[in-house]
């Protein structure tokens, strides 16, 4: 079981009864992926793995194939801009789910603005294709080895990445 950590000084408050939260067994991950995993924390009934970019794909592949974890369902990939002057600036959060074992997990990668590249997870889950394209479109984060990395929601000739925090909310 992952250790309980406090988030920014606030004690985690879980609204769910403890019995209804299903935790994935992450006990072995810390030793097997010591170089990749920075931290495993648990808050509000959810486990978050903070991982490094190197070895990320191996970690995701392991999470999908390991019989005790079997995260065969990539629910979502979400990009986050941690702030214009934050170091590192961006985060990419993979929301994983296991249909057979019915548990969830979040893997988060922090990346610098100067080298905003993440290896693509398209080879692991096909669903990653459009989700990564959206992050590329909205944040300007590149995905290595993505089969079709184009803008998806904004026009092809659009300049700028709308969900970055320094992008204006109104027109100039």
């Amino acid at each position: 079981m992952a250790e309980t950590t406090e988030t920014n000084g606030q004690a985690p408050v879980s609204t769910l009864p403890r019995s209804s939260v299903r935790y994935a067994d992450t006990s072995l991950l810390r030793t097997n992926f010591a170089d990749t995993i920075v931290e495993i924390k648990e808050a509000l009934g959810e486990i978050t793995i903070i991982a490094k970019r190197d070895g990320l794909l191996a970690l995701l592949m392991h999470l999908r194939d390991e019989p005790k974890l079997r995260f065969n369902y990539l629910a979502d990939i979400g990009g986050v801009d941690l702030g214009e002057f934050a170091e590192p600036r961006f985060a990419v959060a993979y929301q994983l789910y296991s249909i057979e074992l019915n548990h969830r997990l979040r893997v988060k990668v922090l990346i610098e603005e100067g080298d905003a590249t993440v290896p693509s997870a398209c080879g692991i889950w096909k669903a990653a294709n459009w989700l990564e394209r959206e992050i590329y479109d909205m944040f300007g984060i590149h995905f290595d080895n993505h089969p079709d990395l184009r803008r998806i929601l904004m026009p092809a000739d659009y300049e700028g990445h709308p969900l970055r925090k320094d992008f204006p909310l109104k027109g100039y």
Partner: protein
């Protein structure tokens, strides 16, 4: 690829060479056509770039973004409670479900218990919403394949549900009825009778639908074995809702991770194995029966009134008499009314079963009066990504059937 058609000229008759059929120069060439964005069968502003060999689809490139309005960005500027007015505008056919997902995520961050009456209200309206959403799907899906009548029958029933929304919330399409901590107000007394009338007549309508469309041989032939996606592939593409249950995956978030007290309702989840348009059709039709069952039970429960909003000090407007006696209560009221409330820092991912599938909200708070980031996992967006694989090798006319069967809403795809 088709070979150049042979010219058959009867040998006995003498044919003037000017009248003989010449080989078609386009016969062995691929043709690229653009379906949409203004085509009625694309259910909104979706454009498909289809590469055709004759009438067979070789490849498909969906082009989306025509309805992109930057809602995730707009949410970052609204206060916590105001965001609800935006969420219902994303998937406008399943607006209550969209509000619910956001409210649940914010409540999880804030650590609020929702009163039982409000939970039952939420279940009732979400299931009514599922019915009204599936009715639009039923009408348009049948109409895409030439069955015009079903559309009118479905919209008569949908109209009745919209009247119910109007009675309870004042709005027909964008209700914004749920709030963080419960619902905005309790039900008016006139609602119960109206809702009972509707629920009484609904099973008879479903029977009519079965005679009209389900038993229709043309409809069956148009949908069976069309747009097949197998179980493993469906999971790999992260399909959800009736689209994945039509591929034999028994997974419904209402059962797997119950929210708002869904575990206390008796219903079953229809699953079909074949993964074609017909399976997805049957799934949704049966889901309507189950939703009707839940509605009947939930209506019984909401007849016992109770508090509709949580007592949490950040959510409840202070008592007027207390405000006149204590200055700190007055200040508290002023703060809630003028700038809203803060939510402790943290991040949460909350998903619900919307009419289209897994609708997820990834919410990040930095302790401010506004959300730092709202990421929406839209079911239509993820389901649509698998369309090229579903339609590859099928006929052009089947593309329309497949689009109808994954039931996309472009407001949900583009956000």
């Amino acid at each position: 690829m088709q070979s150049v058609r042979e010219i058959r000229v009867p040998t006995t008759a003498v044919v003037d060479p000017a009248f003989a059929r010449k080989p078609d120069p386009l016969a062995d060439q691929l043709m690229t056509i653009s379906l949409g964005p203004q085509h009625p069968s694309t259910h909104g502003v979706l454009r498909l770039e289809l590469v055709l060999d004759g009438e067979t689809v070789v490849s498909t490139i969906p082009d989306i973004g025509y309805l992109h309005t930057g809602m995730e960005k707009t949410m970052e500027k609204e206060r916590w409670q105001q965001v609800v007015t935006i969420t219902c505008r994303m998937d406008y056919l399943n607006s209550m479900g969209n509000d619910l997902g956001y409210c649940l995520a914010a409540e999880k961050l804030l650590g609020v218990e929702v009163p039982k009456y409000a939970q039952d209200l939420r279940v009732l309206f979400c299931e009514l919403n599922r019915l009204s959403s599936h009715l639009v799907w039923f009408g348009t899906h049948a109409m895409d394949m030439g069955a015009m009548t079903g559309f009118f029958y479905a919209f008569i029933q949908r109209e009745k549900i919209l009247d119910l929304y109007e009675c309870a919330t004042g709005a027909r399409l964008h209700q914004s009825y749920f709030a963080i901590g419960g619902a905005r107000w309790a039900l008016p007394t006139s609602f119960h009778g109206l809702c009972e009338d509707f629920l009484e007549g609904f099973p008879a309508f479903l029977e009519e639908c079965k005679k009209l469309v389900t038993g229709n041989r043309i409809f069956q032939r148009r949908t069976q074995g069309v747009g097949v996606i197998k179980k493993e592939n469906a999971i790999n593409w992260a399909l959800s809702g009736p689209t994945i249950r039509g591929s034999g995956v028994n997974w419904d978030i209402r059962k797997a991770e119950p929210y708002s007290g869904y575990d206390t309702y008796d219903f079953h989840v229809p699953v079909y194995e074949d993964g074609d348009v017909w399976s997805r059709y049957l799934c949704r039709m049966e889901e309507m029966e189950e939703s009707h069952k839940i509605c009947v039970e939930a209506l019984k429960r909401v007849k016992q009134p109770g508090p509709h909003l949580s007592n949490h000090p950040k959510l409840k407007i202070p008592d007027r008499d207390l405000m006149k006696q204590h200055i700190d209560v007055m200040i508290h009221h002023f703060l809630i009314a003028s700038e809203g409330f803060t939510i402790p820092p943290g991040e949460v991912y909350q998903s619900i079963e919307s009419a289209r599938g897994e609708l997820g909200y990834y919410l990040i708070s930095d302790g401010d009066i506004k959300p730092y980031r709202v990421r929406v996992r839209a079911p239509s967006y993820v389901n649509l990504a698998a369309l090229p694989e579903m339609v590859e090798g099928s006929l052009l006319a089947d593309v329309v059937a497949v689009i109808g069967s994954i039931d996309i809403v472009l407001g949900d795809v583009d956000r």
